[in-house]
């Protein structure tokens, strides 16, 4: 039967015929992660009652917000079967450059009302610029994304630290303008500003992926690059652009992180790389390309953050958080491999 409301979307969502057994349908469902989250949450309530408190919810939400923005950038790259290891370096780099533009000594900007917009524009430009460079090497010079973004992440993480030593005696740049800090901390209509930003980014990327030529062609490139080329998709241009978008996402994430911290720091986000990739993959985005959705990644982030919070509440130490996170990524990967097996290749 046709479903009149079926998504007219160029994505390879899972089809789940009705005659599969329940466990298979669950395994194949795109909401598997949400179900797991809920189940986990319910199990946790008797163990750590505090998990069901407003405070915890707020913590979960605030941890999720910047991560979602960054992970969405990664999702776009994974959809075209690439990988972007440089996002954390972009976060660090944009953070310190943006902070120095807003607080720079001697210039006209500090204290002026233009400091905030100039800072934000600089951050976006730096993010887009590094992304452009990644994309150029990958799409035009046909270098492997893994190595290119590995090199750029080493390079710019180094540059960020070095840059701060030039500008400041401490290891970070403080005294950011109030108008900037508000983005990471303030509220509008009772809703945190960072939530507004994240919502806007999420909706924009969702619309871009599902309703624009660019987005749908990204999926096609991920499913079959050659076929896309033969069908007239400008593959190099699209791949190049995808990395620019990823860089911009990292920059937006950096704006939120920096605003929240009230300082530009080169170690901001330095160890969230695996969370970024993990969240996307746990949500159901495939490392082999062609599969991924905004909402899946949001679920993936929710899952990771929920896990993190609950482990913290249980008073577990860092090492348990580490080990359990690894196990969860592994389970997600095995589930994905099983999924491919069940649906046949």
């Amino acid at each position: 039967m046709t479903n009149p409301f079926s998504r007219p979307v160029l994505s390879s969502g899972n089809t789940s015929p009705q005659h599969r057994p329940l466990w298979q349908r669950l395994l194949l469902s795109e909401y598997l992660v949400v179900v797991l989250c809920l189940a986990y949450f319910c199990i946790m309530i008797p163990i750590v009652p505090r998990i069901a408190s407003i405070q915890t919810f707020q913590n979960i939400l605030s941890d999720m917000l910047p991560l979602i923005v960054v992970a969405l950038g990664q999702t776009i790259i994974l959809i075209i079967a690439g990988i972007d290891l440089s996002m954390t370096a972009i976060i660090a780099m944009t953070s310190v450059v943006g902070a120095s533009v807003m607080t720079g000594t001697g210039g006209p900007l500090p204290g002026s009302p233009f400091a905030m917009p100039a800072g934000i524009l600089t951050m976006l430009a730096v993010g887009a610029g590094i992304g452009w460079f990644n994309g150029f090497c990958i799409a035009r010079l046909r270098m492997p994304p893994f190595m290119v973004t590995l090199a750029t992440t080493m390079f710019f993480a180094g540059v960020a630290i070095w840059y701060v030593t030039l500008r400041s005696e401490t290891t970070s740049i403080a005294n950011l303008p109030r108008s900037f800090v508000v983005i990471g901390q303030g509220k509008l209509y009772g809703i945190p500003n960072s939530l507004w930003v994240t919502l806007a980014v999420g909706v924009l990327i969702h619309l871009m992926l599902t309703r624009t030529v660019f987005g749908r062609e990204l999926y096609a490139i991920g499913v079959n690059r050659i076929s896309a080329e033969v069908s007239g998709v400008p593959v190099s241009r699209r791949v190049h652009m995808a990395f620019v978008v990823s860089g911009i996402c990292a920059a937006i994430g950096s704006i939120l992180y920096t605003g929240r911290l009230e300082t530009g720091s080169p170690i901001i986000g330095s160890n969230i790389l695996l969370d970024i990739i993990g969240a996307a993959v746990i949500g159901g985005t495939s490392l082999y390309g062609g599969k991924g959705k905004v909402i899946w990644t949001v679920f993936g982030v929710l899952f990771l953050v929920l896990l993190d919070q609950s482990l913290k509440l249980m008073g577990l130490t860092l090492f348990m958080v580490f080990a359990i996170k690894g196990a969860v990524i592994l389970v997600a990967a095995i589930a994905d491999a099983l999924r491919t097996k069940v649906t046949g290749r």
Partner: protein, 329 residues
């Protein structure tokens, strides 16, 4: 004909760019500081690069099959953590055996995940990286621990006037070179990396080959842990963090392709030494320590770029030919 010789020349240049790079690095540091080009310093460079070199040798096996192992740093940490906490009472040789066993077991888990459960190597080893580090943090209680005295003695020991580190490096290199070049298994690693489907058709047990490649990688990570541990003498929670990237960089720098089938351990050693030479040189000329990672990253980047150019170029040559144009003979 001239276009063919031009192609040959281009290939030749592309092939030796890393060597050229090395020569330039040596030359420029020698000019900048007389202390650099000195036998003692050269030996020092080899010693400093040995753990990355050994790690990179194991990684080379994995990369040759077009795989990747992100968990080697975690294996190093876990092996040393076990040594520092549980194996203090054991005689040194037994402790070494246990460490190597741990490394191989860890590699075997990776191998099983990849060959039996069909998990992508990247994600499987990413997960075991977390698990391994988590276990190690658990074992050490996130403390900075000193390694048992015999290990420290090992680090200082000499055999025939040569540091044990260099011996270990040389032996690992010789054995791994022998395995890759002179045993059926080694040649099958190359075949699997070139084309797993053809390899299966040719009757090679592809799963077995891939599995053992990860075991070998785990083993070499354990040796690297010993070498590194005996030099540092203690392990902090950051021990061997992100060494996987250094190992991959060394291998790729030495001409091993990320897409499998091409490269070798000699190149990897060369890559590791090149990276260490740069860092050593930067120290000697008193460069701003903050620019170290930038210089290293740039060198890796250049090497990868050259490799891609070469691959693109080879692809163009390999195009299918329909008709034989009459070539002057």
């Amino acid at each position: 004909m001239s276009s063919i010789s031009r192609k040959r020349f281009l290939m030749f240049t592309l092939r030796y760019v890393p060597m050229l790079l090395f020569a330039i690095v040596l030359l420029s540091f020698s000019l900048m500081s007389p202390r650099f080009f000195d036998l003692k310093n050269m030996i020092n460079i080899v010693i400093q690069s040995s753990h990355i070199g050994i790690l990179g040798i194991g990684m080379t096996f994995v990369l040759l099959t077009a795989g990747i192992d992100l968990s080697v740093g975690a294996i190093m940490y876990l092996a040393c953590a076990m040594l520092a906490v549980y194996l203090t009472g054991l005689p040194i040789w037994l402790a070494m055996v246990v460490m190597c066993t741990i490394g191989m077991a860890f590699g075997a888990v990776n191998g099983l995940l990849i060959t039996r459960l069909n998990v992508a190597a990247f994600i499987a080893t990413l997960a075991t990286l977390f698990i391994g580090r988590g276990l190690a943090l658990f074992v050490t209680g996130t403390q900075l621990l000193t390694l048992p005295p015999p290990i420290l003695e090992l680090g200082r020991s000499n055999i025939l006037g040569v540091s044990w580190t260099i011996w270990a490096f040389a032996i690992v290199l010789a054995v791994s070179w022998f395995i890759l070049a002179r045993t059926p298994f080694g040649r099958q690693v190359y075949a699997v990396g070139a084309d797993p489907e053809s390899a299966a058709k040719a009757g090679i047990n592809v799963r077995r080959v891939v599995f053992f490649v990860y075991v070998i990688c785990g083993f070499s990570a354990a040796i690297a842990a010993l070498v590194s541990g005996s030099q540092v003498g203690s392990i902090s929670p950051n021990f061997a963090i992100q060494k996987e990237f250094a190992a991959i960089a060394a291998a790729v720098l030495g001409g091993t392709s990320l897409f499998g089938g091409r490269g070798g351990v000699l190149g990897t050693v060369f890559g590791a030494i090149l990276i260490q030479t740069v860092e050593n040189g930067l120290v000697i000329i008193n460069a701003d320590p903050y620019i170290y990672p930038m210089v290293t990253a740039s060198i890796i980047f250049i090497a990868v770029m050259v490799d891609s150019l070469r691959t693109n170029f080879l692809e163009r040559i390999d195009q299918r030919v329909i008709r034989m144009e009459d070539l002057p003979r």
